[in-house]
Protein backbone atom coordinates (compact mmCIF):
# COMPACT_ATOMS: atom_id res chain seq x y z
CA UNK A 1 0.00 0.00 0.00
CA UNK A 2 2.85 2.34 0.94
CA UNK A 3 4.54 1.70 -2.38
CA UNK A 4 1.26 2.37 -4.17
CA UNK A 5 0.89 5.72 -2.36
CA UNK A 6 4.47 6.64 -3.19
CA UNK A 7 3.87 5.74 -6.80
CA UNK A 8 0.76 7.96 -6.87
CA UNK A 9 2.68 10.89 -5.34
CA UNK A 10 5.48 10.54 -7.89
CA UNK A 11 2.98 10.07 -10.70
CA UNK A 12 1.10 13.29 -9.90
CA UNK A 13 3.90 15.57 -8.70
CA UNK A 14 6.61 14.77 -11.25
CA UNK A 15 4.72 15.88 -14.40
CA UNK A 16 3.67 19.17 -12.75
CA UNK A 17 7.28 19.95 -11.85
CA UNK A 18 8.54 19.03 -15.29
CA UNK A 19 5.79 21.17 -16.88
CA UNK A 20 6.79 24.13 -14.71
CA UNK A 21 10.43 23.59 -15.62
CA UNK A 22 9.51 23.47 -19.33
CA UNK A 23 7.59 26.75 -18.98
CA UNK A 24 10.56 28.34 -17.21
CA UNK A 25 12.91 27.24 -20.03
CA UNK A 26 10.49 28.64 -22.63
CA UNK A 27 10.09 31.88 -20.67
CA UNK A 28 13.88 32.32 -20.50
CA UNK A 29 14.21 31.57 -24.21
CA UNK A 30 11.53 34.13 -25.13
CA UNK A 31 12.80 36.87 -22.80
CA UNK A 32 16.35 36.39 -24.16
CA UNK A 33 15.01 37.15 -27.64
CA UNK A 34 13.10 40.26 -26.51
CA UNK A 35 14.94 43.58 -26.46
CA UNK A 36 14.56 45.76 -23.37
CA UNK A 37 13.45 48.91 -25.19
CA UNK A 38 14.40 51.34 -22.44
CA UNK A 39 17.84 49.80 -21.73
CA UNK A 40 21.13 50.04 -23.60
CA UNK A 41 21.90 46.76 -25.37
CA UNK A 42 20.17 44.47 -22.88
CA UNK A 43 17.61 41.76 -23.38
CA UNK A 44 14.49 41.59 -21.22
CA UNK A 45 16.04 38.49 -19.57
CA UNK A 46 19.17 40.42 -18.53
CA UNK A 47 17.42 43.60 -17.43
CA UNK A 48 15.94 44.40 -14.03
CA UNK A 49 14.15 47.57 -15.16
CA UNK A 50 10.47 48.20 -14.39
CA UNK A 51 9.65 47.67 -18.08
CA UNK A 52 11.52 44.36 -18.31
CA UNK A 53 10.05 43.03 -15.05
CA UNK A 54 6.49 43.77 -16.22
CA UNK A 55 7.24 42.19 -19.58
CA UNK A 56 8.48 39.01 -17.87
CA UNK A 57 5.15 38.77 -16.00
CA UNK A 58 3.24 39.18 -19.29
CA UNK A 59 5.38 36.46 -20.98
CA UNK A 60 4.64 34.13 -18.06
CA UNK A 61 0.90 34.92 -18.34
CA UNK A 62 0.87 34.28 -22.10
CA UNK A 63 2.66 30.92 -21.68
CA UNK A 64 0.12 29.89 -19.05
CA UNK A 65 -2.69 30.93 -21.41
CA UNK A 66 -1.29 28.37 -23.85
CA UNK A 67 0.17 30.69 -26.50
CA UNK A 68 3.02 29.30 -28.58
CA UNK A 69 6.45 30.93 -28.77
CA UNK A 70 5.67 32.36 -32.22
CA UNK A 71 2.30 33.73 -31.06
CA UNK A 72 4.00 35.46 -28.12
CA UNK A 73 6.57 37.08 -30.45
CA UNK A 74 3.76 38.23 -32.77
CA UNK A 75 1.89 39.65 -29.80
CA UNK A 76 4.86 41.78 -28.68
CA UNK A 77 5.60 42.74 -32.27
CA UNK A 78 2.05 44.07 -32.62
CA UNK A 79 2.51 46.17 -29.47
CA UNK A 80 6.07 47.48 -29.93
CA UNK A 81 7.04 46.81 -33.54
CA UNK A 82 9.71 44.50 -34.95
CA UNK A 83 12.51 46.25 -33.02
CA UNK A 84 11.54 44.38 -29.85
CA UNK A 85 12.68 41.08 -31.41
CA UNK A 86 16.39 40.26 -31.51
CA UNK A 87 15.67 37.56 -34.07
CA UNK A 88 13.41 39.18 -36.69
CA UNK A 89 10.57 37.10 -38.11
CA UNK A 90 10.65 35.92 -41.74
CA UNK A 91 8.46 38.39 -43.66
CA UNK A 92 8.57 40.66 -46.72
CA UNK A 93 10.80 43.20 -44.93
CA UNK A 94 13.35 40.59 -43.90
CA UNK A 95 13.51 38.27 -46.96
CA UNK A 96 16.74 39.91 -48.08
CA UNK A 97 18.26 39.72 -44.60
CA UNK A 98 17.55 35.99 -44.25
CA UNK A 99 18.26 34.94 -47.85
CA UNK A 100 21.47 36.89 -48.57
CA UNK A 101 23.79 34.58 -46.54
CA UNK A 102 22.21 31.54 -48.25
CA UNK A 103 22.62 33.17 -51.66
CA UNK A 104 26.27 33.96 -50.96
CA UNK A 105 26.79 30.40 -49.71
CA UNK A 106 25.31 28.86 -52.87
CA UNK A 107 27.20 31.18 -55.24
CA UNK A 108 30.44 30.48 -53.35
CA UNK A 109 29.69 26.75 -53.37
CA UNK A 110 29.04 26.82 -57.13
CA UNK A 111 32.37 28.58 -57.76
CA UNK A 112 34.28 26.12 -55.56
CA UNK A 113 32.52 23.16 -57.21
CA UNK A 114 33.27 24.49 -60.68
CA UNK A 115 36.95 25.02 -59.89
CA UNK A 116 37.17 21.60 -58.25
CA UNK A 117 35.65 19.97 -61.34
CA UNK A 118 38.03 21.93 -63.58
CA UNK A 119 41.17 20.79 -61.70
CA UNK A 120 40.02 17.18 -61.81
Amino acid sequence: MKIFKLFLVIFFIFPIHSLKADNEVLKNKITKNLRCLICQGQSVYDSDSEFANSLKIVVDKKINEGLSEKQIYSYFQSKYGEWILYDPLFNKNTYFLWLLPLLIFFIGGAIVFKNFKKTN
Binding site: L37, I38, E50, F51, N53, L55, V58, K61, I107
Partner: protein, 172 residues
Protein backbone atom coordinates in the same frame (compact mmCIF):
# COMPACT_ATOMS: atom_id res chain seq x y z
CA UNK B 1 33.42 34.24 -70.18
CA UNK B 2 34.25 31.63 -67.54
CA UNK B 3 37.18 33.67 -66.26
CA UNK B 4 34.94 36.69 -65.81
CA UNK B 5 32.32 34.87 -63.69
CA UNK B 6 34.32 34.90 -60.45
CA UNK B 7 35.31 38.61 -60.42
CA UNK B 8 31.78 39.62 -61.54
CA UNK B 9 30.15 37.60 -58.73
CA UNK B 10 32.57 38.92 -56.11
CA UNK B 11 32.05 42.51 -57.30
CA UNK B 12 28.28 42.00 -57.25
CA UNK B 13 28.37 40.66 -53.68
CA UNK B 14 30.61 43.53 -52.55
CA UNK B 15 28.30 46.10 -54.15
CA UNK B 16 25.31 44.60 -52.29
CA UNK B 17 27.19 44.58 -48.99
CA UNK B 18 28.35 48.16 -49.60
CA UNK B 19 24.78 49.33 -50.29
CA UNK B 20 23.46 47.60 -47.16
CA UNK B 21 26.15 49.10 -44.89
CA UNK B 22 25.97 52.53 -46.55
CA UNK B 23 22.21 52.60 -45.96
CA UNK B 24 22.82 51.46 -42.38
CA UNK B 25 25.20 54.39 -41.80
CA UNK B 26 22.39 56.85 -42.42
CA UNK B 27 20.04 55.17 -39.94
CA UNK B 28 20.06 56.52 -36.43
CA UNK B 29 21.31 54.06 -33.82
CA UNK B 30 19.02 55.61 -31.21
CA UNK B 31 15.71 53.80 -31.01
CA UNK B 32 12.78 56.07 -31.76
CA UNK B 33 9.42 54.48 -31.04
CA UNK B 34 6.47 54.82 -33.37
CA UNK B 35 4.05 57.44 -32.05
CA UNK B 36 1.47 57.61 -34.82
CA UNK B 37 -0.38 54.41 -34.32
CA UNK B 38 -3.79 53.16 -35.24
CA UNK B 39 -4.21 50.20 -32.95
CA UNK B 40 -7.48 49.33 -31.31
CA UNK B 41 -7.88 49.85 -27.58
CA UNK B 42 -6.84 46.54 -25.96
CA UNK B 43 -9.75 44.68 -24.42
CA UNK B 44 -8.68 43.99 -20.84
CA UNK B 45 -10.30 43.41 -17.49
CA UNK B 46 -8.79 46.05 -15.25
CA UNK B 47 -9.07 47.05 -11.60
CA UNK B 48 -10.26 50.53 -10.75
CA UNK B 49 -8.23 52.58 -8.30
CA UNK B 50 -11.08 53.92 -6.13
CA UNK B 51 -13.53 51.05 -5.94
CA UNK B 52 -11.35 48.01 -6.71
CA UNK B 53 -14.10 46.94 -9.12
CA UNK B 54 -13.12 45.10 -12.29
CA UNK B 55 -14.21 46.61 -15.60
CA UNK B 56 -13.36 46.05 -19.24
CA UNK B 57 -11.35 48.79 -20.95
CA UNK B 58 -13.81 48.77 -23.86
CA UNK B 59 -16.47 49.93 -21.34
CA UNK B 60 -14.28 52.84 -20.25
CA UNK B 61 -13.54 54.10 -23.78
CA UNK B 62 -16.88 53.21 -25.36
CA UNK B 63 -18.29 56.61 -26.37
CA UNK B 64 -17.23 58.42 -29.54
CA UNK B 65 -15.58 61.18 -27.47
CA UNK B 66 -11.84 61.80 -27.31
CA UNK B 67 -10.03 60.25 -24.37
CA UNK B 68 -6.55 60.81 -23.03
CA UNK B 69 -5.17 57.85 -21.11
CA UNK B 70 -2.35 59.07 -18.91
CA UNK B 71 0.01 56.62 -17.21
CA UNK B 72 1.35 58.14 -13.99
CA UNK B 73 2.84 57.36 -10.65
CA UNK B 74 3.45 59.28 -7.43
CA UNK B 75 7.16 58.32 -7.48
CA UNK B 76 7.65 59.68 -10.99
CA UNK B 77 9.15 63.19 -11.00
CA UNK B 78 8.19 64.11 -14.63
CA UNK B 79 4.57 63.21 -13.74
CA UNK B 80 4.57 66.13 -11.28
CA UNK B 81 5.81 68.40 -14.04
CA UNK B 82 3.01 67.45 -16.44
CA UNK B 83 0.26 67.47 -13.81
CA UNK B 84 -0.74 71.16 -14.30
CA UNK B 85 -1.21 70.38 -18.02
CA UNK B 86 -3.56 67.51 -17.17
CA UNK B 87 -5.48 69.78 -14.80
CA UNK B 88 -5.84 72.20 -17.70
CA UNK B 89 -7.03 69.42 -20.04
CA UNK B 90 -9.62 68.36 -17.45
CA UNK B 91 -11.53 71.59 -18.17
CA UNK B 92 -11.86 70.74 -21.86
CA UNK B 93 -15.33 69.22 -22.29
CA UNK B 94 -14.41 67.54 -25.59
CA UNK B 95 -11.84 65.34 -23.85
CA UNK B 96 -12.03 62.89 -20.99
CA UNK B 97 -8.83 62.26 -19.05
CA UNK B 98 -8.42 58.71 -17.74
CA UNK B 99 -5.53 57.79 -15.47
CA UNK B 100 -3.53 54.60 -15.11
CA UNK B 101 -1.69 54.45 -11.81
CA UNK B 102 1.51 52.50 -12.54
CA UNK B 103 3.30 50.29 -9.96
CA UNK B 104 2.44 52.61 -7.12
CA UNK B 105 1.57 52.62 -3.46
CA UNK B 106 -2.12 53.54 -3.18
CA UNK B 107 -1.66 55.84 -0.17
CA UNK B 108 1.16 57.73 -1.88
CA UNK B 109 -0.95 58.02 -5.03
CA UNK B 110 -3.93 59.36 -3.04
CA UNK B 111 -1.68 61.95 -1.34
CA UNK B 112 -0.29 62.94 -4.74
CA UNK B 113 -3.80 63.63 -6.07
CA UNK B 114 -4.86 65.37 -2.86
CA UNK B 115 -1.89 67.72 -3.08
CA UNK B 116 -1.85 68.44 -6.83
CA UNK B 117 -5.52 67.88 -7.77
CA UNK B 118 -7.29 65.03 -9.54
CA UNK B 119 -7.62 65.52 -13.32
CA UNK B 120 -8.88 61.97 -13.94
CA UNK B 121 -12.44 60.91 -14.54
CA UNK B 122 -11.53 57.30 -13.83
CA UNK B 123 -8.27 55.72 -12.66
CA UNK B 124 -7.11 52.21 -13.58
CA UNK B 125 -4.85 50.60 -10.99
CA UNK B 126 -1.92 48.79 -12.63
CA UNK B 127 -0.16 47.21 -9.66
CA UNK B 128 2.46 45.20 -11.60
CA UNK B 129 2.77 47.14 -14.86
CA UNK B 130 1.15 44.45 -17.04
CA UNK B 131 -1.76 46.64 -18.21
CA UNK B 132 0.79 49.19 -19.45
CA UNK B 133 2.52 46.44 -21.47
CA UNK B 134 -0.84 45.44 -23.01
CA UNK B 135 -1.15 49.08 -24.14
CA UNK B 136 2.34 49.02 -25.62
CA UNK B 137 3.70 51.53 -23.08
CA UNK B 138 7.35 51.94 -22.08
CA UNK B 139 6.96 53.49 -18.64
CA UNK B 140 5.81 56.64 -16.90
CA UNK B 141 4.70 59.22 -17.86
CA UNK B 142 3.07 58.23 -21.10
CA UNK B 143 -0.23 59.27 -22.69
CA UNK B 144 -2.49 57.84 -25.38
CA UNK B 145 -5.02 59.87 -27.34
CA UNK B 146 -8.04 57.69 -28.11
CA UNK B 147 -11.02 58.20 -30.37
CA UNK B 148 -13.65 55.73 -31.61
CA UNK B 149 -11.96 52.90 -29.74
CA UNK B 150 -8.64 53.52 -31.52
CA UNK B 151 -5.34 54.85 -30.24
CA UNK B 152 -4.55 57.73 -32.55
CA UNK B 153 -1.43 59.16 -30.92
CA UNK B 154 1.04 58.15 -28.27
CA UNK B 155 3.00 60.69 -26.16
CA UNK B 156 6.10 59.21 -24.56
CA UNK B 157 7.38 61.30 -21.67
CA UNK B 158 5.70 64.26 -19.99
CA UNK B 159 3.11 66.28 -21.90
CA UNK B 160 4.16 69.82 -22.77
CA UNK B 161 2.75 72.94 -24.46
CA UNK B 162 3.45 71.49 -27.93
CA UNK B 163 1.58 68.26 -27.17
CA UNK B 164 -1.35 70.27 -25.76
CA UNK B 165 -1.56 72.26 -29.00
CA UNK B 166 -1.48 69.03 -30.99
CA UNK B 167 -4.18 67.43 -28.82
CA UNK B 168 -6.34 70.55 -29.26
CA UNK B 169 -5.93 70.26 -33.03
CA UNK B 170 -7.05 66.63 -32.94
CA UNK B 171 -10.14 67.27 -30.85
CA UNK B 172 -11.19 70.50 -32.56
Amino acid sequence: MKNKLLPTTITFIFIIIFIVFFKGLKDTNIYTPETKINNEVPSLSVNLFDTNNTVNTIEIFKSDKFYLLNIWSSWCVPCREEHPILMELKNNNRLKVIGMNYKDNKDNAKNFLKKLGNPYEKIIFDSNGTYAIEWGAYGVPESFLINNNKIIKKYIGPLNKVSIEEINLFIK
